[in-house]
Amino acid sequence: MQVKVKVFRFNPEKDKRPHYETYKLEAQPTDRVLDMLEYIKGYCDGTLSFRRSCAHGICGSDAMRINGRNHLACKALLKDLHSNHITVEPMLGLKVIKDLIVDMDQFFAHYKAVMPYFINDEPAPPQERLQSIEERERFDDTTKCILCACCTTSCPSFWASDLYLGPQAIVAAHRFIFDSRDKAAGERLKILNDQFGVYRCHTIYNCTECCPREIEITQAIGEVKAAIVTGRLR
């Protein structure tokens, strides 16, 4: 079928302000938006720039706004968009560097701010630390995060202030806070118990709705809030 793909374009070396270009192409219902962008880059305009790598929803490189909603371009199939008019734009809330490429520095700075690494300074046993199936299940959902930034850049609170750590950083913290083997939950909860921490979440659910890993992000944020208030982890 014929598809019209309208793409946000901005070249900082030439353009004063961004504009849109529309490309007409033939596509199959099972084609991914990433396939269409590759086609456009290969046959219509080699200067079009975007990030991509694994092309099946695991590496998190190609997060962008497709018909107004955050998606991974490699996981957005034409047939699921229910339209042959497709608008592709960079994620909101981060500075556009070129075309669909945004500056991720602030996003990763927030990730790093929540101590997103396992901490347990007690001597490790010769074999594995034991963890029950139930204890492991407690934080399973948030281990799925691929740092694509769909959640954080769909959050109106983050749009209002990029000092807000954002849903992704809270998800990253949740993964360790509720891990029975980790010993630094208190420090992470302290970081999140801040005006730019969990209280900026107003349960708008944009993050949960667009997460390509289907993580229950709003619920995870709620659990972190509850842990801060009650001081209880499990």
Binding site: Y39, Y43, T47, S53, I58, C59, K98
Partner: protein, 597 residues
């Protein structure tokens, strides 16, 4: 041009690179340079598990793991290196757990393990639970955990820097040249030790599970400096890629009881591997699938088969096989259990196939998956540059880019993640040790000269060739003629085509002459790497007149241990000619014998 100096630099931020960096940074000033943000690396897509004989679910021994890997390699793997890997595996997996890796758990709270292709109880010959897993995202969890630990240990990162040249001074590694993608500025990284951990080159083939980033960059920059490549003819096709797209469906699906079904409704692997059936090694299964399709037994006569993991199918064949749980109870799967153990597979099938694997079988076909060959190293990750295993000072390689060789002619599933952590660790340790006792090699006044000349050619190319046309042609000819089945005639014609494409490649015009994220320029450079590697693979494959592991020739259908129990070493000479030499396989305990599954 900007200059940096570190004692150790690591190129690539996947499992091997991050493990190397984690260990090197304990005693040496270390930086990681990666073209992707580290968590985007291809290790993240590995699904089913990492092999280690923990024996958490049933009896197992690292010696069994060793034998299985030797047999899996079709006796081309070096047995001293395989012993080292399988012995180290147990400690390495515990170490990952201590770093916080969230493995799935057994009822006793230990690391959970599942069966995988080619891994057996050496007494009964039956599949053994050896793959340590975190649901079906084991690679994702390894990548995340190692990156997190690197952050904790303040490793220096240069993200989105494309390494384009290796610096060699006085016969030793002295650093690299990299392009900062956001500005196109050239950076010189001066180092005492350089660890290449850049992954494979699966983008040479049409149907592939590999990321766009998998363009063989490490191999390309090394071979341009006279470093030989080992066993380049051996490339693995994974049996179960999503039909047409090639996206990987983990062998863990068959580990959990899924079976392959042909168009006649037969579980055809019974005929090809009577003992372990759907859990034979990957080369055996991929070839069986190819033959079934060729015989007209594809689904509806098409070129795909079904991977069936519906509970009724799993339970039916588990009963026929007499399969039991480790506690002795009958093996019965429910839909919920399948979703819990294979959540990403369920998601991929729903997204890309519109199929719910609990209700319907998944259409699959073999997909280009893994580079067994690569930069020759010893078991400490030191790069060796000839048939006498002469070490090149300061240069290391680990992971898929390297050829130790622990995978030989065919890698067993779960041994790639194992390779990353074991050899990543040891190359990091060795590189730091070397750096602590070595001086920096002097660099020339402008070490970027070669890079500038190379990119001037790309920037100034004249003509109207298209990058997509050249890459599609390369991929299809390599898939058809240098894929799962090969013939001398087919490979000769592929070689001719690839050489023509290398000429046409010089006439791809660069439309983007800017400096900010010039992805078109980088993509052209990457295609150049792939074309050069495609030629090398084909020349090595043409020379090997036997069938072994993943290298299967219709015109030489038998393994020939008299003439070919040896590793290929290939050099690209300055005039572009390819020179082949050979070195013996290291055999310790296991004499080659016929390989039956």
């Amino acid at each position: 041009m900007k200059k940096h100096q570190f004692e150790v630099i690591v190129i690539g931020a996947g499992g091997a690179g991050l493990m190397a960096a984690l260990y090197a940074s304990k005693t040496a000033n270390t930086a990681v340079i990666s073209k992707l943000y580290p968590t985007r690396s291809h290790t993240g897509t590995a699904q089913g598990g990492v092999g280690a004989a923990l024996g958490n679910e049933e009896e197992d021994h690292w010696e069994w793991h060793t034998f299985d890997s030797v047999k899996g390699s079709d006796y081309l793997g070096d047995q001293d290196a395989i012993e080292f890997m399988c012995y180290e595996a147990v400690q390495a997996v515990y170490e990952l757990e201590h770093y916080g890796l969230p493995f799935s758990r057994t009822a006793e709270g230990k690391i959970a393990q599942r069966p995988f292709g080619g891994h057996t109880n050496n007494v009964t010959g039956k599949p053994v639970h050896r793959a340590c897993y975190a649901a079906d995202r084991t690679g994702h969890m390894i990548l995340q955990t190692l990156y997190q630990q690197c952050l904790k240990n303040n490793v220096n990162f240069f993200d989105e820097f494309q390494v384009v040249d290796l610096l060699v001074v006085n016969g030793a590694a002295a650093g690299v040249v990299a392009i900062e993608l956001s500005t196109s500025e050239l950076h010189v990284f001066h180092a005492k030790s350089v660890i290449l951990a850049t992954g494979g080159h699966g983008r040479v083939w049409d149907i592939t599970s590999n990321a766009y980033a998998y363009t063989g960059d490490g191999i390309a920059v090394a071979m341009r400096h006279g470093i030989p490549m080992e066993d380049m003819e051996f490339f693995q096709f994974h049996p179960t890629g999503i039909y047409k797209l090639g996206i990987l469906i983990t062998e863990g699906v068959r580990g959990e009881g899924g079976v392959l079904i042909n168009g006649k409704g037969e579980r055809f692997m019974e005929r090809y591997a009577p003992r372990v059936k759907d859990l034979a090694s990957r080369d055996v299964i991929s070839r069986a699938m190819f033959l079934e399709i060729k015989a007209g037994n594809g689904i509806n006569g098409q070129n795909y088969l079904y991977l069936d993991v519906r509970p009724e199918t799993v339970n039916k064949y588990a009963a026929l096989d007499g399969r039991k749980r480790p506690d002795g109870t009958p093996y019965l799967m429910t839909g919920e259990e399948i979703i819990a153990k294979l959540p990403d597979i369920v998601d991929f099938a729903r997204t890309y196939l519109g199929v719910d694997p609990v209700m319907q079988p998944m259409p699959v076909q073999p997909t280009a998956h893994y580079t067994m060959g690569g930069i020759p190293t010893n078991k400490y990750g030191e790069v060796v540059i000839d048939e006498n295993n002469t070490v090149m000072p300061g240069l290391y390689a680990a992971g898929e880019v390297a050829c130790v060789s622990v995978h030989g002619a065919n890698r067993l599933g779960t041994n790639s993640l194992l390779d990353l952590i074991v050899f990543g660790k040891h190359s990091g340790l060795r590189a730091a040790e070397f750096a602590n006792g070595a001086e920096f090699q002097p660099l020339s006044a402008d070490p970027t000269e070669f890079t500038q000349a190379q990119f001037d050619l790309i920037r100034n190319a004249q003509g109207n060739e298209k990058i997509l046309e050249i890459s599609s042609k390369m991929k299809s000819v390599m898939m058809d003629c240098v894929g799962m089945f090969r013939t001398g005639e087919g490979m000769e014609s592929a070689l001719e085509t690839v050489r023509e494409l290398r000429e046409r490649y010089k006439h791809i015009p660069l439309h983007d002459q800017g400096k900010v994220f010039n992805t078109e320029m980088i993509n052209i450079w990457e295609l150049g790497n792939l074309l050069e590697i495609a030629e090398l693979v084909t020349v090595c494959a043409l020379a090997r007149t036997e069938s072994r592991g993943a290298h299967a020739r219709d015109d030489y259908p038998k393994r020939d241990d008299v003439n070919w129990l040896k590793h290929t070493l290939s050099w690209i000479k300055e005039d572009g000619a390819i020179e082949l030499r050979y070195k013996p396989v290291v055999i310790t305990k296991y004499q080659p014998k016929e390989r039956v599954y």
